[in-house]
Symmetry: C2
């Protein structure tokens, strides 16, 4: 048992499997936390526990929240006439950091994929069509990744909304080919949103 105690070893193993971390970075983090006798580790434990217990998906948009509906869906200052469709919550967060979009969101949770057998129902696209029709939305912005699957999904949704009379737009050029929203700087994503075009 090289690393102090069974719990320390288990902690290093668990941290080392998180995205972007490995055994070495996990060891450095654990030693850092143990050395900091400031209670940072207990604080981290409490926050993790609270987030694990309280986090769920917003019933309306799929954003992560600690209530039935997220702070964006319940904010009366957010325009209910504009819905921005994203692949996942990381993309929603990236758009919010841009402080440009003042409407509401819809999180698909993925993209259509023949290879992975993910169809429209798996992504709740019929429910999205229902939602925008029911809510009297005037514009749906498809802020999907500029990947093949992302663009296939965007075209599928645009077709599904074709007869509704709702304006369907996509992000402007500015998102690089093959680029994923969550990796862009906040300025690029905001500029692409401002210059969005009708599909």
């Amino acid at each position: 048992m090289a690393e102090g105690s069974d719990d320390i070893q288990a902690l290093i193993a668990l941290l080392g499997r998180l995205p972007g971390l490995g055994p070495r970075s996990a060891r450095r983090i654990v030693l850092h936390l143990i050395r900091k006798r400031s209670g940072q580790m207990s604080q981290l434990a409490q926050l993790l526990d609270s987030v694990a217990v309280n986090s769920r998906e917003c019933l309306t948009c799929g954003n992560i929240t600690d209530r039935d509906e997220c702070a964006i869906c319940t904010d009366p200052a957010r325009a209910s006439g504009e819905i921005c469709v994203v692949e996942d919550v990381a993309d929603l967060w990236a758009l919010e950091r841009g402080h440009v979009f003042r409407g509401r969101y819809h999180v698909l949770g993925g993209t259509l994929s023949a290879l992975d057998e993910i169809g429209p129902e798996d992504l709740g696209i019929p429910a999205l069509v229902d939602r925008v029709t029911r809510e009297g939305v005037s514009e749906v912005i498809l802020a999907l990744n500029a990947t093949v699957d992302g663009q296939t999904t965007a075209h599928y949704i645009a077709d599904a909304l074709d007869s509704s009379g709702i304006t369907v737009t996509g992000l402007a050029q500015g998102v690089p080919i093959g680029g994923e929203l969550d990796y862009l700087d906040d300025g690029t994503i905001s500029a692409a949103l401002r210059a969005r075009r009708k599909l």
Copy 2:
């Protein structure tokens, strides 16, 4: 509040300040943990809490442990006649991963440094001299980093033990100049330990 809830934002901020992490990697980790509904996050919280509450320094060697004395100091199979002196616990762990050294350790907690005004008392070097004399140690291995401060500290300790009759050795060449033990692969560190030389 872009990121779900106050707790999620606080968690991202806290994780983002850990060594090797930043805001982006912290966001990815938190989303990963929220998506994994397997209780991984609660498990992580419990381990962090347990390690925070139970971790302390071994009263004998300075290793991190959950008891008064660490598993190495209390292991009767470990040779008490050899003490390996390291700068910090990360180095002790690195040596243990090499599975070559079967003696015991002494963790200095740093190196002598004129610039940072760290003297022999700050590192407990008089206590180390007491310990090795009292325990009847036959060899002290100075496994310090191959940095200027590390080697200054090694020479200071070698001088302090000069009149004791105890054999003082250092790691063999093989540790690259300027290299830090914790960044070496386990094979290199083990080879350097096997080929250690008398100072």
